[in-house]
Each structure stands twice: as structure tokens, then as C-alpha cells.
């Protein structure tokens, strides 16, 4: 059976929308099936993989950084990249370089690379299907 490649195009910045959570659920579902997955992140989504995201405490609830254990999208991406390998799949995550420069989020985690809108087109061309999840 031929292996499928699915492409997802994301726009939402981290911590802003349930769309990001749903997107990550879709990525996981695709990788679980052993599909190769492309992600083209542009606009605010280029910050999802920003290496300098940091947890913070929650003074209102009296929790320190460890206790609060605030989720970070960069860690989710790293976990998905690792998970892909266990499923014999590849998660190819590309950030739009134009959007990265605008937002000053040039430092991405390992396994994420800088690209351009041309990568989005190439990904779509090489995929069984592409889903764009637009922002509001």
C-alpha cells in the first residue's frame, strides 16, 4: 500500500485558539497511521516552534513554575517529531521565513526549518491532500 503524505497549513499563533489544539490532534492522528506529514506554518503559527518559549509560575493560584507546568507548543512539536520516528513516519515542519522575520522568531527548535511560500506549494503538490486551517 502506498504511503500517504498529508500537508497541513497553519496560521494561528500559540496560545490563541482552539484551532491550534485541533491541528495538533490532526497531526498526531496522521502520524499514528504512519503517514508522512508536512506542516507549513505561516503568519502567527511560525511562533509555535519558537525555541525561546518559557514556562511561568502562577502567582494567583500559588503555583511555582514546576507546579504550574505550563504547556508550550514547542514541546508539543518536539514530541510529535519524536513520535513520528516511532511510527516510521516523517514530520516535516517548515516556517515561512517572511513571517519569521516579521515576528523576530528566528530561533526554532531542532527539527523545524525555515522556508518560504514556495515550500507550501511544493508540499501541496507532493501530498495526497492538503488542509489549510485559516485564522479567524
Amino acid at each position: 500500500m502506498a504511503k500517504h503524505t498529508l500537508t497541513f497549513v497553519l496560521m494561528d499563533a500559540p496560545f490563541e485558539s482552539a484551532r491550534t489544539t485541533t491541528a495538533f490532534r490532526l497531526l498526531h492522528a496522521a502520524l499514528e497511521r504512519g503517514y508522512d506529514v508536512n506542516v507549513f506554518a505561516y503568519e502567527g503559527a511560525v511562533a509555535l516552534s519558537f525555541a525561546k518559549q518559557a514556562q511561568h509560575p502562577n502567582a494567583v493560584h500559588g503555583r511555582d513554575v514546576t507546579q504550574e507546568d505550563h504547556p508550550l507548543s514547542k514541546n508539543w512539536i518536539a514530541a510529535l517529531i519524536a513520535h513520528a520516528r516511532t511510527r516510521g513516519a516523517d514530520l516535516n515542519w517548515v516556517n515561512c521565513g517572511l513571517c519569521v522575520d516579521e515576528r523576530g522568531v528566528g530561533e526554532a527548535i531542532e527539527g523545524v526549518r525555515r522556508g518560504s511560500p514556495a515550500d507550501c506549494w511544493k508540499m501541496a503538490q507532493q501530498s495526497t491532500a492538503t488542509l489549510v486551517i485559516p485564522t479567524k
Binding site: 500517504h4 498529508l6 482552539a18 484551532r19 485541533t22 490532534r25 490532526l26 492522528a29 496522521a30 499514528e32 497511521r33 503517514y35 495526497t128 491532500a129 492538503t130 488542509l131 489549510v132 486551517i133 485559516p134
Partner: protein
């Protein structure tokens, strides 16, 4: 010919766009395409029994498959027994399956 999977994420009571998605689904079906509607996030709020949803009722009436994300339903306290007829709870994998089958997938 691949079908169309329309994903509706918006609360139908917040956005008129959800109604437009239903209209699109019906038009695509009338044009002879396989069509499925997948409700996710606040899009599932339309499927509680008792909710007013004229456009979604039309979609169900045309025998278009209507699926509701089981995770979104649980988040919003909507039990499977509380779904209207013609709607089925389904995992998010349903979207991945259709994509792998080459369906055109549109998100609203």
C-alpha cells in the same frame, strides 16, 4: 471522483458562516459530489437536541453524512445520547482518513 469534506468549527449562533458551509454542502451534493460535514470545536453546539439549526437540518435532510468530533462533544458536555438524529459522533481520525482517500478538505 474524490468527495468534499467540509469542516465547520464555528458556533452557528455566533457566525453566519456556519450556515454558508451548510449551503455549500447542499450545493456540492446537488452537483453530484460525495459530501460529508465534520463539526468540530464550537461547531458541535448545533447538534444538541433542542438547538435551533435550520440550515443543519437541511443538510441532514439531503442525506449528507454529518459527523461531530467526539472530543469537542465531551469538552462541551454533549453526550452521544443528546445528539440529534442524523449526526454521528466520530473521532478526529475521520478527517485524516478522508484526506488520505484524496477528499478535498475545507476548513471554516
Amino acid at each position: 471522483m474524490p468527495g468534499y469534506l467540509l469542516i465547520e468549527s464555528r458556533d452557528p449562533f455566533e457566525s453566519t458562516g456556519a450556515a454558508r458551509t451548510c449551503e455549500l454542502a447542499i450545493q456540492l451534493r446537488a452537483a453530484g459530489h460525495d459530501v460529508a460535514l465534520f463539526l468540530v470545536q464550537n461547531g458541535v453546539l448545533a447538534v444538541r437536541s433542542g438547538a435551533r439549526r435550520a440550515e443543519l437540518d437541511k443538510v441532514i435532510g439531503t442525506k449528507i453524512e454529518v459527523l461531530a468530533d467526539d472530543f469537542s462533544l465531551r469538552e462541551r458536555g454533549i453526550a452521544p445520547a443528546g445528539l440529534i438524529g442524523g449526526v454521528r459522533a466520530a473521532p478526529i481520525d475521520s478527517i485524516v482518513e478522508r484526506m488520505a482517500a484524496g477528499w478535498n478538505t475545507l476548513w471554516h
